[in-house]
């Protein structure tokens, strides 16, 4: 839909530049003709032309910008959604890769950068081409000789501008963006870890590194400026050169040429120049947009690792039984994890206990289909877990992780995520169950803002909110992965036994993953894992 808008916008761009050329041509013709003092009526068409082109130049400029911006924003919306959908396929395990992590942080900027391809590069190119063609056509009509010379001049200047821009982009634009990223990483490290760096007397090394990448960046920026200056010089030399050529030919064929055309010939290059001057910036915008586009394409086109593609077609009923039999899992990084054998039935609870790093969380990842079983069998309600359709499985199996993911917005919005149709009363009941209501009641109740990424909540409060969400969704199997790591221990045990009681009453089965033996005793059964 936006494609037609682009074409329309670019068409107006062309018209705009042609109006500008025509304005200069008609006004110089008007003056030269007037100097011959003919009757007024010979001038009236030129007078109308001058006024009309002055108007249309401004009008086309206005509509061109509106149409192109509108089309670009439409395209960006599609791109954003497509990027999001390709991230969804990988989340959360596929996004832990460091390279991908840095990609995501630049995605928002990249989408903006890519827009410049349609917004700046293409219109500038179209305008340069349109004015060039118009000039050549006009010249070949007036004096074919000059048209040939101008064509030679223009081909030379296009070639020079383009190759200089390509060299400049190769030597500087890419390097500058790499160096800027490098420095951003270094500055981020310096700022975020400043306390540690300072305490241990290591900040000098880091600030030296920032300094040295700033120096390198500065050198590259100066190189880029040299190229930019050279490009401008080439274009200006072309302008003056073409004025000289036009003057020379006009002078040589003086007798053959009507006097009013001489001014047109000599001055047209001025109008053409205005549009050629925009080329270097446009080429640079293209280069930057291409770098951004490549980053986005890398992300969208790279294959989703096979271990992250789990989904069958079966509907899952309420949870009844679970068996792990010699199961193994492989992460995209190649890390393999062997999992303990255990069983669980509806309404039961089991704790998975062991030191950190033993792969306890892998059990959770498998049960919510974030990761495939690579070897052995995991049976859920008697069928291999991979047979179930994702959405259906996840409406029965819930996971509460170490770092509870609270979304910005209100408490209500966070709860509605789990149960869009639940009533006010149901929300309150659940919040009371997880000991969150008294705190919220003192603030703004369900409309309390949790802050950006839950910054208004303590670690414990975030965990409790996350628990409330899982209870609301009425899942029949709940996995708690280190649920109390940021809750005060005195409250942790009480909170957990509360939850386990509530779960047992409503028949929800629990898998409790923890490194804390004190907490593990709350479950009916216990599975010990060890590091390999």
């Amino acid at each position: 839909m936006y494609k037609a808008r682009f074409v329309f916008g670019w068409f107006i761009s062309g018209l705009q530049s042609l109006s500008s050329l025509a304005l200069l041509a008609t006004s110089s013709w008007l003056l030269s003709r007037a100097a011959q003092q003919p009757s007024v009526m010979y001038l009236s068409i030129a007078v109308v032309g001058v006024r009309a082109f002055a108007l249309s130049k401004a009008f086309f400029r206005y509509s061109e910008r509106l149409v192109l911006h509108d089309a670009t924003f439409r395209k960006a919306t599609k791109l954003r959604v497509a990027i999001y959908e390709s991230l969804v396929k990988r989340a959360p395990i596929g996004l832990r890769d460091t390279k991908l992590g840095s990609l995501i942080s630049s995605l928002v900027d990249d989408v903006d950068e890519i827009q410049n391809l349609d917004l700046r590069y293409r219109p500038a190119l179209i305008q340069a081409v349109a004015t060039t063609l118009a000039t050549l056509i006009l010249f070949s009509w007036l004096t074919p000789n000059l048209a040939i010379w101008m064509a030679i001049c223009l081909v030379t200047v296009f070639a020079a501008t383009y190759s200089l821009s390509v060299v400049a982009a190769k030597k500087t634009t890419g390097g500058i963006s790499v160096r800027r990223n490098e420095m951003a990483v270094e500055v981020q490290r310096f700022v975020e870890k400043n306390r540690v760096l300072k305490t241990y007397g290591w900040n000098q090394r880091s600030s030296d590194r920032i300094e040295s990448s700033a120096v390198k960046l500065g050198e590259l920026e100066l190189d880029a400026a040299r190229f930019g200056g050279m490009l401008q010089s080439v274009l200006q030399l072309f302008l003056f050169g073409s004025v000289v050529v036009a003057a020379f030919i006009a002078h040589a064929s003086g007798a053959l040429l009507p006097p009013e055309q001489i001014a047109v010939l000599v001055l047209i290059p001025l109008a053409l120049f205005e549009y050629l001057m925009g080329l270097p910036a446009a080429l640079q915008a293209r280069k930057k947009a291409e770098i951004a586009a490549r980053r986005v394409e890398d992300l969208m086109q790279s294959e989703v690792p096979p271990h992250l593609q789990v989904s069958g077609s079966q509907e899952m009923a309420r949870f009844s039984e679970l068996q792990f039999i010699g199961a193994c899992a492989t992460y995209p990084s190649g890390r393999e994890v062997e999992l303990p054998d255990f069983e669980l039935r509806a309404g039961g609870s089991v704790s998975i206990v062991g030191p950190s790093g033993a792969g306890k969380s892998t059990i959770a990842n498998i049960l919510v289909q974030f990761l495939a079983v690579s070897n052995g069998i995991v049976l859920l309600n008697g069928k291999p877990i991979g047979d179930y359709e994702q959405a259906s499985l996840r409406s029965e199996v819930g996971l509460l992780t170490q770092n509870a993911e609270v979304l910005s917005g209100t408490i209500r919005a966070n709860l509605a995520l789990a149960a869009p149709d639940a009533t006010e009363e149901e929300f309150k009941k659940i919040l009371e169950l997880v000991h969150l209501w008294p705190m919220l009641d003192a603030r703004e109740g369900l409309d309390t803002e949790v802050g950006s990424a839950g910054s208004n909540l303590s670690g414990g409060e975030a965990q409790r909110l996350s628990m409330a969400r899982n209870l609301l969704a009425e899942k029949s199997l709940l996995i708690l992965d280190e649920p109390t790591s940021s809750v005060e221990p005195a409250l942790a045990k009480e909170l957990l036994s509360n939850l386990l009681n509530a779960a047992q009453e409503s028949g929800v089965a629990i898998i409790l993953i923890t490194h804390d033996s004190e907490i593990a005793v709350l479950a009916q059964e216990r599975v010990q894992v060890t590091t390999h």
Partner: protein
């Protein structure tokens, strides 16, 4: 630096406008003489060539020098900004990072585009009017009446769009935040089968942004339209007036051509100020924020008393200010005498060894520190990245502990401050670590530990309720 740049710009502007006059003069004379069938004066050739060469040189030099100034100013500001005290309330770390990188880079547009354009406009507009006045007073009157229309339009329309524009910038940042937020919460969205719904929300937010931005652009492009129209209609007015005067023989042809070529110099520079100002506003905002921060550097290092020798446990509910109090000690006047372990492990990219020892290497202290921190299951050669990936949470915490212990031992310090040192470590190792810490305290070191793990506290420990 900036002042010198202004002087250079004024010089370049004067030379540049002289060159423009020379070029317009030589070309218009040439056209007039050729059109009249005369042989043009040879003296025009050197005038034209000098003008052309000057124009080329001025623009090359300006581009290069602007970048040089920008690079130097950016480095200077960045250096001063990063030399700041980071423990301060009026700026968040993420804002600092953005200021020191993207914010400063936006200054390029200010030094390279806005400032030169601004100085040039201020110089060249009156010069052009003066030249017009000397050559043809009547046309200069047209200039005097039409030029002020441009800044007038700018101010009018600028006022009308400002509020709307700010709102639009707001929703732009909101979109960025929303995207980050959604990406961060993808796991949760998947767990509640809400990814498709979010995809729709993202599309809606983005579409809303488009609609709102277009509303703003319709008005702000209108200002561009008005300016363009004012400029090109003024030129048209000038051309038509001169045309009719030519017709009546009231003005020489070469003067007419000269004025036609000079006219854009009267309108164009002022018109581009607005556009360039917009492009550099981000840089200006960043620079003034940085200057504010540099001026108001608060040094609120409260003199806090270091704890006495012995083992001390700080307890209290979350949010009671334990961490803040400890950080005041760790970054107070006696910073050099303290070994501090932060609540977050905060490891640096590199090997585990380099995280513990930094640049120095004292094998005895290293061996002691790893033993005391129960770092028995982690090889010192393991490479970790900036986010601590490569280690589990508990391992990272013990590396961070070993780092503090290494500093204590290798610098023979007397105070050890630990902020929740064992919150992610298994019970067996936690108990061992706490016993080691008591042993260290027994040797005459002041050891203070913030904790929520009250089960690890023994009756003999000194407990402080914060």
């Amino acid at each position: 630096m900036v002042r010198r740049w202004l002087v250079v710009l004024v010089g370049l502007g004067l030379v540049g406008s002289a060159a423009s006059v020379a070029l317009a003069f030589s070309i218009s004379n040439f056209i007039a003489e050729t059109a009249a069938g005369k042989v043009f004066s040879v003296s025009l050739v050197p005038l034209f060539l000098t003008g052309a060469a000057t124009k080329v040189a001025v623009s090359y030099f300006q581009e290069l020098y602007a970048t040089k100034v920008s690079v130097e100013v950016k480095m200077q500001l960045r250096k001063e900004l990063l030399a700041q005290e980071f423990v301060r309330g009026d700026v968040s770390p993420s804002e600092l990072v953005i200021l020191a990188t993207r914010g400063l880079d936006a200054l390029d547009a200010y030094f390279g585009k806005f400032l030169p354009q601004f100085v040039y406009a201020i110089l060249v507009t009156p010069i052009t009017v003066a030249v017009f006045f000397l050559v043809d007073p009547l046309s200069s009157i047209i200039l005097v009446f039409t030029i002020p229309l441009i800044p007038l339009f700018m101010v009018f329309i600028g006022r009308a769009t400002q509020a709307e524009q700010e709102r639009q910038f707001d929703s732009l940042t909101r979109l960025g935040k929303h995207f980050h937020e959604v990406v961060r919460g993808l796991a949760t969205l998947k767990l509640f089968n809400r990814t498709d719904y979010q995809s729709k929300v993202l599309g809606d937010v983005s579409e809303n942004l488009r609609a709102r931005t277009m509303k703003v652009l319709r008005i702000s492009f209108l200002s561009g339209f008005a300016l363009e129209l004012a400029a090109s209609l003024s030129v048209a007015l000038l051309a038509v007036t001169i045309g009719f005067r030519l017709l009546e023989g009231q003005i020489a042809f070469f003067v007419a051509m000269f004025l036609l070529m000079m006219a854009p110099d009267a309108y164009l520079p002022i018109r581009t100020i607005g556009a360039n100002y917009h492009a550099s506003s981000e840089g200006i905002a960043a620079a003034s924020r940085i200057l504010d921060l540099l001026e108001s550097n608060p040094s609120d290092a409260l003199p806090a008393r270091l704890p006495a020798a012995g083992f001390e446990v700080w307890i209290g509910p979350s949010g009671s200010g334990k961490t803040r109090k400890m950080e005041q000690l760790a970054f107070g006047p006696e910073m050099e005498a303290v070994a501090w372990m932060p609540q977050e492990a905060t490891l640096l990219a590199g090997s585990v060894r380099s995280n513990i020892v930094g640049d120095s290497l004292d094998s005895e202290s290293l061996g002691w520190a790893t033993r005391m921190a129960a770092l028995d299951d982690v090889s010192l050669e393991i490479e970790i990245d900036d986010y601590g990936r490569g280690l589990s949470g508990g391992q990272a915490q013990r590396v961070s502990l070993a780092r503090a212990l290494y500093r204590l031992k290798s610098h023979s310090l007397g105070v050890l401050l630990l902020d929740e040192p064992t919150s992610s470590i298994d019970m067996e190792r936690s108990t061992a670590i706490w016993n080691n810490l008591r042993e260290i305290a027994g040797s005459g070191v002041a050891v203070s530990v913030i904790t929520h793990q009250i089960e690890l506290i023994q009756p003999s420990d000194r407990v402080v309720n914060v």
